[in-house]
């Protein structure tokens, strides 16, 4: 595949991500921050996000398996997840976190379980998408081209 096609593919892919609501303008901001001083900023931040989210999701699963569920701790975790996802612009995850928090406040175990499943699902989706996007970017830079903004 030649460079121009790759670049076009990347642009289309990104646009579709925005279109489908996986990402919001916060992600654009992140991309704006990336420059020659910090060329891998976005990748770094997103990796940080993945690590953080995985940890948080594990904690949440464990918390929901307990006999006595500590809603407060769960709320704290969800809050963190919400913060992280909003910082990188993972819109869908962020929205689900809001719903999750409401269930926590209402101490609704069923709701929390369901929500956790959804969050995990969305997270997995957005992770895959971002990873694909990064792969594309990597291919472009390997081919010697510049990554379109």
């Amino acid at each position: 595949m030649d460079l121009v096609q790759l670049q076009r593919q990347l642009v289309d892919y990104r646009t579709s991500l925005y279109h489908e609501g996986f990402l919001d303008e916060q992600f654009t901001q992140l991309q704006e921050l990336q420059d020659e001083n910090n060329p891998d900023f976005v990748v770094e931040v997103v990796s940080l996000f993945f690590q953080d989210s995985e940890r948080l999701l594990n904690e949440l699963s464990k918390a929901l398996e307990q006999q006595i569920i500590d809603f407060k701790r769960m709320d704290a975790h969800v809050h963190q997840l919400k913060g992280s996802s909003s910082s990188i612009g993972a819109q869908r995850v962020q929205k689900l976190c809001i719903v999750f928090r409401n269930y926590c406040e209402a101490r609704n175990v069923e709701g929390c379980l369901k929500c956790l499943q959804q969050v995990k699902h969305e997270y997995a989706l957005v992770k895959t998408k971002l990873e694909s996007m990064f792969q594309l970017e990597q291919q472009i830079s390997n081919a010697g081209g510049s990554i379109p903004v």
């Binding site: 901001q29 940080l48 910082s87």
Partner: protein
């Protein structure tokens, strides 16, 4: 010698002599026995004041008797001794009699006065007796009345009161029959309502204007009436000869009678009639005290009835109030629910509506930057224009709701008035030139350069007003004038209720926008400032206005303690929009206060902050990393920490700003803020503390202000936003974003 003094023993007139002899004897006897009797009786009685008078009297009588006794011997020839004794006796008698006579002159008046005093005392005793009798009767009456009143007043039920009255009166006065006639509702008849003996009186009625009834009603005394008059015919006719009958009026008081000023007068003439009948077979008469009793009872009954009426009234009022309370409570709760629902809606719409709009606008503008065919470009431009319009509309609606519910607060800051107007001019010049309208701006020379107020909203107001002028003018010119309101010109006959009073730190800015457009007819002028009300004639020509603009302007102007109005001489004659707002005069306004501001009024924003040392505190690694990158992009020297304690450890006087992400629970910003305050005693050394939060709650902002933070910034923060935030912060040393 013959002695003629020897009289024969019994001379020929001896019959007369004999009688004289006998009389003298009896006189003497009587005269001797009287003193004896006197002594005897005086000894018997204890009180006799004149003892020595008695002695005198006794002596007088004794001597008189002696005289008469001795006289007995003088009928026969008697010796000289007898004569001398006789003479002595007579002399003594004469003496004593004269003395006694003289004495009597003194004594008899005294004795007489004793008699008069005795008479007087007897009269007095009789009088006292009478009075005693009166008092006793009064006391009796009082006792009876008290007892009756107690019985009557022990209940607040009207029927019980009346029935008890009759029963008690009957008992006290031993009445044959006692009845109460009440006026009917029409007021023209009296109806027999209660009787003592009959359980259920048949409803007899009597017309109210009988002379006997009028007589009774005209006085508050009990009046004796004839047993034959209609009101007194209470017993089945025939057998009885009724006893004496008395009738008394019972005033029926209404609530409206209790006028404090004319309380003694009874301002209503509604009376009931109470008829009392004595037993027919006793010869009893109505005594005065009984009549008085009846009168007093009638009055008491009136009072008791009025109390019952008042109680009924107050119970009714209380029930009414309770119902109203319940209804009001319900209404309030409904209103609260409605407000809550609206606020929830707004909260959601706030975010939800703006986000897609933002995406649309952002992506459309991005799209504009790419390669497009001319048709595509046109389409994209249309999309952009429409979405901008929609975004404005959404903002307007949200603004207006916030304005209405009073939650909007002005952001007061110092700004440049001149540059504001120049900005306005710059913005409208393109449109004006397209429509070939001339725009002129004239600012009064005494207009201060800087003012304290809400720049953004003032700009919005001016733009709206000028925009309207442009919209509705096809040709001609638009002139904008601004000047400071002088006290003399303040009194405007058209707006008498608006009286601005300038003071030392405030002035009133007056802006007039005059256009030569289509004008407005006088009857439409009041509707201009109402929401959504479009001028009919212009609606078709200018679709696209939401009708909210002027309404919002009015709210803003009101918030700025001002007034806005429009004058027009009629259709086709153009119109002038005028508003006056209150602006503050900044104190000590000079450049030295703003270290980073260059001389140029516009474009004073810094684009980079080389080497600015900043501390970022964020528990969330991802968001902290993003913030750090943002700041580094702007040239800052950033240190990130993820806990409050770390923050306190690392913060130093070299740091100029501390950004605290406070949305994360677990960070006690209050504690950290106060520790920072403690750490840096001097104000200049202390770094500015700014909160970063995604929480758009007003209380968050207030809390931050309260605990001493210098600023609050809403997430998400774009690069441009961070740039202007830092710039404002360093310039003003405080920045609380409008929530």
């Amino acid at each position: 010698m013959e002695c003629n003094c020897i009289e024969p023993q019994w001379p020929p007139d001896d019959l007369l002599m004999k009688y004289q002899y006998i009389s003298d004897f009896f006189i003497a006897l009587a005269y001797f026995s009287i003193p004896l009797e006197l002594i005897y009786f005086v000894k018997k009685s204890a009180v006799f004041p004149y003892r020595w008078v008695l002695v005198q009297f006794g002596a007088f009588i004794v001597l008189c008797g002696a005289t008469h006794l001795i006289n007995l011997w003088t009928f026969t020839p008697h010796s000289r001794t007898v004569a001398s004794v006789m003479t002595t006796a007579k002399v003594l008698t004469a003496l004593v009699s004269c003395v006694t006579a003289l004495m009597l002159v003194h004594i008899i008046p005294d004795l007489l006065s004793v008699k008069t005093r005795e008479l007087f005392l007897k009269n007095k005793a009789a009088e006292l007796d009478r009075e005693m009798g009166l008092i006793r009767t009064q006391e009796e009456i009082g006792r009876h009345v008290r007892m009756l009143t107690h019985e009557i007043r022990s209940t607040l039920d009207r029927h019980t009161i009346l029935r008890t009255t009759l029963v008690e009166l009957g008992r006290t006065l031993s009445l044959e029959e006692c009845a109460l006639w009440m006026p009917t509702r029409t007021g023209l008849e009296l109806q027999l309502s209660y009787t003592l003996r009959q359980q259920n009186p048949v409803g007899y009625t009597v017309p109210i204007h009988l002379p006997v009834i009028n007589q009774v009603f005209s006085t508050n005394c009990a009046v004796k009436i004839s047993p034959n008059c209609p009101v007194a015919r209470l017993r089945p006719a025939g057998k009885y000869v009724s006893g004496e009958v008395v009738a008394v009026r019972v005033p029926l008081l209404h609530l409206s009678n209790f006028h404090i000023n004319d309380w003694p007068e009874l301002s209503t003439k509604r009376y009931a009639l109470m008829v009392l009948m004595l037993p027919s077979d006793s010869a009893r008469q109505w005594h005065v005290h009984e009549l008085e009793l009846v009168e007093v009872v009638a009055d008491q009954v009136a009072v008791a009835l009025s109390h019952a009426a008042i109680l009924e009234e107050s119970m009714r009022a209380r029930n009414l109030l309770m119902e109203q309370n319940v209804a009001l409570d319900l209404a309030r709760r409904e209103a609260e629910t409605a407000i809550r629902a609206r606020n929830d809606f707004l909260a959601v719409m706030n975010h939800e509506m703006r986000t897609p709009m933002h995406a649309i606008i952002a992506l459309s503008s991005l799209l504009q930057e790419t390669e497009l065919t001319p048709e595509q470009r046109l389409m994209v431009e249309t999309i952009l224009k429409s979405s901008n319009l929609l975004a404005t509309l959404i903002n307007d609606v949200l603004d207006l709701s916030r304005l209405e519910d009073g939650s909007l607060q002005l952001d007061l800051e110092t700004f440049n008035l001149y540059s504001l107007f120049k900005e306005v001019l710059k913005l409208i010049k393109p449109i004006a030139s397209v429509k070939k309208l001339r725009v002129s701006l004239s600012l009064a020379p005494d207009l201060p350069e800087y003012a304290v107020g809400d720049e953004k909203r003032l700009m919005q107001t001016i733009l709206n007003v000028v925009g309207n002028a442009l919209k509705f003018s096809k040709e001609g010119s638009i002139s904008i004038t601004a000047f400071v309101v002088k006290p003399e010109t303040l009194r405007d006959s058209r707006t008498p209720e608006f009286l601005p009073v300038p003071s030392d730190n405030h002035f009133y800015l007056r802006v007039q926008v005059k256009d030569s457009g289509c004008g407005i007819s006088p009857q439409d002028i009041p509707k201009l400032f109402t929401k959504f009300a479009e001028n009919q004639s212009t609606a078709t020509r200018n679709p696209g206005g939401s009708g909210l603009g002027l309404a919002i302007c009015k709210r803003f102007v009101n918030l700025m303690e001002g007034h806005i109005w429009i004058e027009s001489e009629g259709l086709g004659k153009g119109c002038t929009a005028i508003f006056i707002v209150k602006l503050g005069i900044p104190e000590g306004m000079n450049d030295s206060k703003l270290p980073y501001m260059p001389k140029m009024p516009t474009n004073h924003r810094q684009t980079a902050f080389p080497g600015l040392k900043v501390l970022v505190m964020d528990e969330n690694g991802v968001s902290g990393a993003v913030t750090k990158e943002l700041l580094m992009h702007l040239g800052c020297d950033v240190t990130t920490v993820s806990s409050g304690d770390e923050c306190l450890q690392l913060v130093s006087h070299e740091h100029k700003v501390v950004f605290m992400d406070i949305c994360v629970p677990g960070i006690d910003c209050h504690r950290i803020t106060s520790r920072i305050y403690e750490k840096f005693a001097k104000r200049n050394e202390r770094p500015l503390i700014v909160a970063l939060t995604g929480n758009t709650d007003k209380s968050t902002k207030e809390n931050c202000m309260r605990i001493g933070m210098d600023g609050l910034v809403l997430k998400p923060v774009s690069l441009d936003k961070m740039r202007s935030v830092l710039s404002d912060l360093l310039e003003h040393r405080v920045l609380f974003e409008a929530i």
